[in-house]
Amino acid sequence: MKKTLLVISTAVMVALAAPAFAGAKQDAVMDHYKKLAKGSFSAERGKAFYSAVHTGGKPATPSCTSCHTKSPTGTGQTRANKPIAPMALSKSPDRFGDLKKVEKWFGRNCRSVLGRECTVQEKGDFLAFMYSQ
């Protein structure tokens, strides 16, 4: 009985530590990057990457936050004034479910913000952060 309680409470704690907003499609996209990566991904590093002011890209968009707002749960805005649905999976559960689309936007936005392609590590960390939010 005690053992069962311990198992349950551990499971609850794990669930709380890593909220599961990701569905099967999102897991598949993450697995794609995990296979390419050398190490593991960190939501903390992803958060720092998201908030950082980068150099090398276009002056008007030095950060993810330039268009997506300071919080990934916020509604962003394109330069042509269209709203961008929140990046956080808790707010936009259908996001990051299509690898082709994910790669399209990493390609465009990494070149715009950093002036280069993002590394697998950066992409994985970024996704880990968005999956946790």
């Binding site: 008007a60 330069r79 042509a80 004034n81 269209k82 082709k100 465009r108 070149r111």
Partner: protein, 147 residues
Amino acid sequence: MKKTIVMTAMIVAMAMMPANTWSRDRGVKDELTKTECGACHMVFQPRFLPAVSWTNIMSDLGNHFGEDASLDEESRTKIEAYLVKNARKKEFKYIGNGTQPIRITEIRWFKREHRNEVSKRAMKRAGTMANCVACHKGAEKGQYDDD
């Protein structure tokens, strides 16, 4: 007499309806074009620009008015074909330097139509002249007569 009243009432009712009530939907029908172009901006109808303008725009998506809008080659080709097929039939005559415009906002009739039309407040709300829907509620359906 009764007939006249009914007729008059009908005419008044019709006149009070917005101008675009009976306009047909002249918006973009192609789903891929709607999805890809519409991800960032209002889906402009291809009839605003001649074919050569669309070809030029679609050949430089890496620098799309300052944005990286790169597409996979299959999508790019399909969208370009749709835009070219439905483009404005005639090129603009008054372009002096021989190139056709790629910005709808730089076309002479566009400038004339909007001269002194957009208040500072409306402009602040729209953000950019490319945000047609801010003022023309039916713009996505190709309806612009509501100003």
